[in-house]
């Protein structure tokens, strides 16, 4: 099955502009007032002692749980699949044979094996995991990254929320102002010519000229009487402000430059985009970004997992070895740099895959079971939380729902999941209205 049509949704749909409800806010505020009020309410007074950032490695398409983190070596062949298993740093716990580096790093990882929900469509599943809410036609929910962006504000030169490489659906700001959407680095971090574009003035434009031009622009924007302030213009203004902040900070710009990293470190993460993307993520959180989503596509393995998951065709052709190297290297790198305690690393996709291999030697969607790996940021590593039954069909212990994942992430990141935001139209909305802490996670 191809990558989903982003429009087909079974349980509703999400559109930012659907929220234009056409009413005055109960308090009689104008839109501009509302946003200023929100911005004031959100700006952090003081950094808390231990600010936790997040790197979300998103395996788009739905990674098979049985072929990765929840193998079933004792199940019949048509369930256990073509791969063997290996022991890990946690006694008694085994992973797919194609995750050897991760197996060694299990001491840092809290592996949830009992993720469960009912939304088996790519976009509904993705919405659920990215926002912590089931999709509904009535509200466009913000991604967790956008929530973090709002809570962090734009005090720093680096954007608070970055996505590597491109924004995909449901990673955006939903009912929050557009300024809290992700900044996409674009391109492919594994390519030798990778750079984030437009971070430097064009040749021949000196710093003085930059400043001069900015001065004129500010004046002209000020003097224009033609375009009224509204949601769209405020977003545009916010983006320009963010842009200038970023441009004015060599340290921030340098965080995007992978060439600043040694060959050795770059090789360690592996040459595929997931590896270089994780490395970029590390650089960004190191430099002050609060939430980085690294998107790795290609996990929708309906066909021939023996060929597509390991390096069956040639080195680097498979999904698993690249993931293994990227993930384990990220954890090790963070640990070595003393960043693991303050960086929550989450590894997941929208759902697991069918326990029974299908007639194309692959697996299909299976939201009833799936995995989430947590590490860092105060997580208690070296444990497995929850389990699935003998065939990996449903949780047999400690079912964990996507709202629980979202709730736990927010709490670990220092955000109150029940905090209320005001959506356009004056409607108060809790960030999450359901969900609880995953037991024993931290």
């Amino acid at each position: 099955m191809k990558m989903s049509n982003s429009i087909t949704r079974c349980d509703g749909f999400v559109r930012r502009d659907f929220l234009q409800l056409g009413m005055l806010s109960a308090l009689g505020m104008s839109v501009a007032d509302l946003l200023r009020w929100q911005a004031l309410a959100a700006s952090p007074k003081k950094e808390s002692k231990k600010e936790i950032s997040c790197i979300l490695i998103w395996l788009d398409g739905g990674p098979s749980h049985i072929d990765t983190f929840d193998p079933k070596p004792d199940a019949p062949k048509e369930v256990r699949g073509p791969f063997g298993t290996i022991p890990t740093a946690i006694p008694g716990v085994r992973l797919s044979e194609h995750l050897p580096l991760t197996a060694k790093a299990m001491g840092d990882i809290a592996l949830v094996r009992s993720l469960t929900h009912e939304l088996g469509n790519h976009n509904t599943g993705r919405h659920y995991l990215m926002t912590g809410h089931r999709p509904t036609p009535v509200v466009a929910y913000p991604s967790l990254g956008s929530v973090l962006a709002k809570e962090s504000g734009f005090g720093r030169a680096l954007p608070p929320y970055v996505i590597v490489p491109q924004a995909i659906e449901y990673t955006q700001a939903g009912y929050l102002p557009g300024a809290y959407g992700p900044f996409a680095v674009g391109g492919d971090p594994s390519k030798p010519d990778f750079r984030v574009r437009d971070l430097n003035a064009p040749e021949g434009v000196s710093i003085d000229v930059e400043a001069r031009r900015r001065n004129v622009l500010t004046a002209l924007d000020d003097f224009s009487r033609e375009v009224e302030e509204g949601l769209a213009t405020l977003a545009r203004d916010a983006f320009y402000e963010q842009a200038y902040k970023l441009l004015g900070s060599p340290a921030a710009k340098s965080a995007f430059d992978l060439k600043k990293e040694s060959r050795a470190v770059r090789n360690r993460y592996g040459s595929k985009s997931i590896g270089q993307g994780c490395l970029l993520g590390r650089r960004l959180v190191e430099a002050g970004t609060r939430f980085v989503t690294v998107v790795d596509r290609g996990w929708d393995t309906h066909v021939d997992i023996a060929r597509n998951l390991p390096d069956a065709r040639f080195r680097g052709s498979g999904k698993l070895p690249a993931l293994d190297r990227a993930y384990a290297s990220l954890l090790t790198d963070l640990r070595e740099r003393g960043l693991l305690d303050t960086t929550l690393v989450v590894l997941m996709g929208e759902f697991g895959r069918t326990p029974k291999i299908n007639n194309r030697a692959g697996r299909d969607h299976w939201p009833r079971a799936g995995f989430v790996c947590f590490a860092g940021g105060g997580v208690k590593g070296g444990q497995v939380i929850g389990a699935t039954d003998a065939h990996g069909e449903v949780p047999s212990d400690t079912p964990v729902r996507p709202e629980d994942v979202a709730h736990s992430m927010l709490k670990l990141l220092g955000v109150d999941p029940h905090k209320e935001y005001i959506a356009p139209g004056g409607r108060p909305l809790k960030i999450l209205d359901k969900g609880k802490m995953i037991p024993g996670l931290a």
């Binding site: 749909f13 056409g22 009413m23």
Partner: protein, 699 residues
């Protein structure tokens, strides 16, 4: 328990049995809706794919036969106790008499509980199998104040029944209206909303339009056409005033962008100021080549015209064919017919490329219904649509229209073997249009002409509506229904009378695209200012003022090129090719990507979905290509306008389509005087104008 009780109980049961047996029970309309209302068959309960606790029901009751079998016959029928109906597991669990993970869903003794009990006592019959609910009628259909809804089910045998107590009510906007379990609607505050009603396997909605409580200071302007009549009528009812008319240069810029996809040239602005004949302008723009380029691009976006998918030659031929239709103003129903029925060589019969959007007939069905009918049927692939009327049967019958086309040897051909099966019955399904129950007539092997006939009929409720709504959105910045590809019963139009009138006019005028565009452009509603008043500031759906529109990516890129007089060079394209003229999104351009052009892999109803944001701002600020245009632009301008004031006017006219105001003039002339290198000073100004908020918006 004393000895007298059992006999009393027996007597009581007997009495109940007697009355219960007299009533003609119909499981799908008497019992099943109660289960839906109680939430038993919701997606997270027994309606889930694998059910709950070993008990599986169809999602929201879309398969009454299977549900009846599950309840009455599964597990040796142990869920029901005919001798002692009240002891049935089917009653005891949801009423929490026994442990029930789902909580209490029925209250012991409630009306629903008693109905179920009586039905069990009657032997839990299915009832007449052919009997079906054909529609729901809700009154009032439109609420301007709090009210109690009444819902009537119409049956296939002509009978009607009040199902108000059995329906499931959901508000689509709880800030405006809330609804209780029994259909009592309370208006919370003025605004628009809808109450979605589900009962007996059907869906309908009541529109909420609660007016503001105030007197309007001024009358509405005199309507110029039927569009104004409908727009102003609803605004009047809602007590929302309109903004004044937009000024001439604002209108010039807006109309040129909306109709021709470009900025007006500075000369056009100067001429229009002297002679602001708006109708003449509209006609000139609609008759221009730029109009054809722009609207061809829009339709190519809609049709996902992509050379990577179609191949370079077919894609080029397809675009040329499309452009020809726009240039000739071919009626839209004929265009649709051609798209649906073309076959043969993909370069010579380029319209056939429409049918290559997807290879699986079900995916085609989804794509075609979305593109041409504005309907999202995808949910109905696996079960009946939860928010709309489409059943799984509807879905597959529609998909069946597309089962017989294949691409073979550069041609679109029809094959004999090609079918769609209903996933549950596994029977072959014959093509039938959405909402129709009759199988379509084939023309030999070809069912598609029947589809085209149905789609383009004057009384087809979907095609004209979807088309009109899309065109409205292009011009006005927002559809009357949003999203434009999600027209459904539970998503009512913001102004139903307006949409109906536009549809009627469109059909009456034989699906004439230019006429529709002209009618919109000449209306007062289109020409309102985007500046709001205190009382219409919050209106975002009823067109009391013009809504800001960001410039689409190709238009923005072209605007920069035109304003600087420095065209862009696109790979393998003749010099001077504008972005709106490009074949598709395969032509490499980081600028167009970052500005958010439609990638044509998926529907792009919302132009702000892609691109924009911080990356776009950085690009405008630092793009070396943009920067490289400034020098040559200023050099040329200085030759033509050696005087600073005149030059300043010219660059304002080119970029913002107006003269500078006093503050702007003073600041800019001061800047030029202060900067050592005059040329650099002018480059700064030109750069700044291209980066202003005002430049980037169509206001």
């Amino acid at each position: 328990m004393n000895a007298a009780r059992p006999s009393v109980a027996l007597f009581f049961c007997g009495a109940v049995l007697a009355t219960a047996a007299e009533r003609a029970w119909h499981f799908p309309t008497d019992i099943l809706p109660r289960l839906t209302q109680a939430g038993c068959n919701a997606g997270k309960c027994h309606g889930a794919a694998t059910g709950q606790g070993g008990f599986k029901l169809s999602l929201l009751g879309d398969d009454p036969a299977a549900d009846h079998a599950a309840i009455t016959r599964e597990r040796g029928g142990r869920r029901l106790d005919f001798a002692n109906p009240e002891r049935s597991l089917f009653l005891r669990k949801p009423s929490r008499d026994l442990d029930h993970k789902g909580g209490q869903k029925l209250r012991n003794g409630s009306e629903s509980w008693r109905a179920v009990r009586d039905w069990i006592a009657a032997g839990a019959p299915f009832g007449k199998t052919e009997l079906r609910v054909t529609k729901l009628v809700v009154t009032p259909a439109e609420l301007r104040q709090s009210a109690q809804l009444k819902v009537t089910a119409h049956f296939s045998d002509g009978q009607t029944r009040d199902v108000t107590a059995m329906a499931l009510y959901t508000t689509q906007n709880d800030a405006v209206a809330t609804v209780g379990k029994t259909g009592q609607v309370t208006i919370e505050r003025p605004g628009l909303g809808a109450i979605m009603i589900r009962a007996a396997g059907q869906v309908t909605a009541a529109r909420v339009a609660a007016p503001f409580k105030r007197e309007l200071a001024n009358d509405f302007p005199k309507p110029r056409n039927f569009i104004d009549e409908k727009v102003f009528a609803e605004l009047s009812r809602m007590r929302i005033p309109v903004s004044p008319e937009a000024g001439d240069v604002v209108f010039l810029r807006r109309a040129t962008l909306d109709l021709a996809g470009r900025l007006p040239a500075s000369a056009e602005v100067r001429i229009f100021i002297k002679n602001p004949d708006r109708e003449k302008l509209i006609n000139r723009l609609i008759g221009s080549e730029a109009f054809v380029d722009f609207w061809t691009m829009k339709f190519a976006d809609l049709l996902l015209l992509d050379s990577k998918k179609l191949g370079a030659e077919p894609a080029r031929a397809y675009r040329d064919w499309l452009r020809q239709q726009i240039a000739r103003n071919t009626p839209m129903n004929q265009v649709a017919r051609a798209l649906l029925t073309a076959r043969g060589n993909l370069t010579q019969n380029a319209a056939a490329n429409f049918q290559r959007q997807k290879t699986d007939p079900r995916d085609m069905g989804e794509s075609v219904s979305q593109t041409l009918l504005g309907i999202r049927v995808a949910c109905a692939r696996c079960h009946n649509h939860p928010f709309d009327r489409w059943t799984q049967a509807d879905y597959h019958q529609f998909a069946a229209f597309f089962a017989r086309t294949r691409v073979q040897g550069g041609e679109l051909v029809l094959v004999e073997r090609g079918e769609v099966r209903h996933p549950r019955t596994e029977k072959v399904v014959l093509p039938s249009p959405l909402g129709a129950s009759k199988t379509a007539k084939a023309d030999g092997l070809d069912y598609r002409p029947a589809l085209a006939d149905w789609l383009t009929r004057p009384d087809n409720p979907f095609f004209a509506r979807a088309m009109v709504n899309r065109i409205w959105r292009e011009m006005m910045g927002r559809g009357i229904v949003e999203p434009v590809d999600d027209l459904r019963v539970s998503n009512p139009p913001a102004n139903p009378a307006l949409l109906d009138a536009l549809v009627a006019s469109f059909v009456e005028n034989e699906f004439d695209l230019r006429r529709l565009i002209r009618d919109i452009a000449t209306s007062r509603a289109y020409q309102l200012s985007s500046r709001t008043t205190a009382d219409n500031r919050a209106d975002t759906q009823l067109f009391s003022h013009a809504y800001l529109k960001p410039l689409p990516a190709p238009v923005k890129a072209d605007a920069i090129a035109q304003a600087t007089g420095q065209p862009d060079a696109y790979a393998s394209q003749p010099k001077g090719t504008r972005a709106v003229q490009l074949l598709d999104a395969q032509v490499p351009s980081y600028t167009l990507d970052v500005f958010g052009r439609c990638p044509r892999t998926d529907n792009c109803a919302d132009p702000t979905q892609f691109g924009g944001g911080l990356s776009s701002a950085l690009h405008l600020i630092n793009d070396p290509t943009l920067n490289a245009k400034l020098g040559p632009a200023v050099d040329e301008l200085l030759k033509k306008y050696p005087q600073p004031r005149a030059l300043l006017d010219e660059i304002f006219l080119r970029t913002l389509s107006r003269f500078p105001n006093d503050k702007e003039r003073a600041k800019c002339l001061k800047h030029i005087a202060e900067v050592k290198d005059t040329k650099e000073g002018w480059q700064d100004l030109l750069w700044a104008l291209l980066n202003t908020r005002e430049f980037g918006f169509n206001h």
